[in-house]
Symmetry: C2
Subunit: 298 residues, 2 copies
């Protein structure tokens, strides 16, 4: 098989494929990032096209939609030399419209494409417990399902091409508004003189419960901003979701608020902090009288 | 013991006390609401003061802070005839400042007060699995803990008088922003042509997971707005939290957004719908070009 993209997620996922005994041809923008995989038996290819020329299934997991476009549709992209009936599986969180474009381009070459973004982060990638949200053709998913099962526990076909990406946008929309709530709630708790961990013991078992309050709440309380998931990647994802929402005529004020708050963080040096650093943007807001994010109450 | 307030929550909770064999003196604004309890052995009293005159521990769980003020501090309120060393336990979701005022007034009469709002809703009240968030004196809580254990599973002293109410505000702040996220996410899913239950299967196991997406998501998908928790009560709670936040100099834009959206529902006839009816406010927003809740993107 082929593997393109060896960041934190991609490297961990590709390693599972090698461990399972699959012959892997790998390419990444920076060859050094691929070395640990090459030393375990993967074979290097100089371009995405070269990977595709040697593979029946090609996985891509890169950074931004522009990177997906380059490695798939670009001059040296995978589709340029994709084999007949081969399957391209893009696991990057990217644009639904780009997923549809890639699907159509693959079909035009007699090949197939699935969009299959994941949730679960680096921990899920390492432990092979990712949730994989798939858009594309059911029979094509069945052909690669045994491979995806090496990477994740929940593999659901959500619909036609683009539906996997749309589902990931739903996932990020849920996280975005909830992170605002978690950070505001813990700010309130601190300002009210409460002990945050004791508060979580009271509120964490019922209707206010969420993954974020349990996993990130204690980190916020400890002012530990080490990344599980980078702020800058989340900003990218929210931007995609907002553009898609606008295209569909949907107003998502909670997501928009979250995105505006998160966008304040990279200029403060927190682009590569974890998403829980959102509390810093809310703290700044509390100190700024003139914020346009918080219009005066009527 | 004394029990004041026999709404959905209060009636279920008081019934547990009767079942456990405690002699209960009960009062409620509408005597008819107390009849089921009277028929099971509770004794009627004509006023909160009368309840207090006969009780060592008095529980109150009424509607709004103004109701708390009336039944506790009013001309016929419980504190007017409270016994020396008796304990008043207010389980209404109410104002932290009012809780402190009641605590001081009780102490001035040689009695005690705890604020002890709950989460878990009618289901939690019926199954005696409430989370009880307590503010007040530790030794006073220990005296009533065996009684509270008849009502809930999680009983945590959060600090001095008012800290229980503050903790409940943290709980509601978490719910508020997350409900915005859940409704926006499911609106996005629907508009993108996804199946909401299949989407929940993909996103419900990871970082986007919350009580609300699992419990209320399917109801939103089915357009089932039957109440677990009333919109109008939630609006009251968010109003308290926002006033407290303002007093503390805190900007909570997510909570403010949620409150503004929720406030649209009672005039539409959804004051007594469940909190999942928020999706209706967001749908209206999507149809309104001129909404000031969704400023045009730059």
């Amino acid at each position: 098989m082929g593997w393109i993209g060896t960041g934190v997620m991609g490297a961990a996922m590709c390693a599972h494929m090698i461990e399972a005994g699959h012959p892997v041809t790998v390419h990444s923008r920076t060859r050094a990032r691929a070395e640990p995989l090459l030393s375990r038996g993967a074979v290097w290819a100089d371009s995405p096209a070269e990977v595709a020329a040697r593979s029946d299934v090609i996985f891509t997991i890169v950074g931004f939609p522009a990177d997906v476009r380059e490695v798939v549709l670009g001059p040296r992209g995978a589709l340029g030399r994709i084999r007949t009936d081969a399957i391209l599986v893009d696991m990057t969180t990217s644009e639904p419209s780009l997923a549809r474009e890639i699907h159509a381009a693959a079909r035009a070459r007699g090949a197939w494409a699935l969009d299959a973004p994941v949730s679960g982060g680096d921990v899920g990638a390492i432990s092979a417990t990712l949730s994989i949200m798939v858009g594309g053709d059911a029979s094509v998913l069945e052909r690669v399902r045994p491979l995806l099962a090496r990477l994740g526990r929940t593999i659901v076909l959500q619909g036609d091409a683009g539906a996997g990406q749309h589902t990931k946008m739903v996932n990020q929309t849920l996280i975005a508004a909830n992170m605002v709530g978690v950070c505001e709630a813990l700010l309130y708790a601190r300002r009210a003189g409460l002990d945050p961990l004791r508060v979580i013991a009271s509120v964490g078992g019922g209707a206010a419960s969420s993954w974020a309050i349990h996993q990130l709440g204690p980190k916020i309380a400890a002012r530990d901003f080490a990344p599980g998931f980078y702020v800058e990647h989340f900003v990218k994802d929210m931007g995609i979701a907002l553009r898609e929402a606008k295209r569909m005529g949907l107003a998502l004020p909670g997501l928009e608020l979250a995105e505006r708050l998160y966008r304040e963080l990279p200029p403060l040096g927190h682009g590569r902090s974890g998403t829980q650093a959102l509390v810093l943007a809310l703290e700044r807001l509390a100190q700024s009288e003139e914020s346009d994010l918080y219009p005066p109450r009527k």
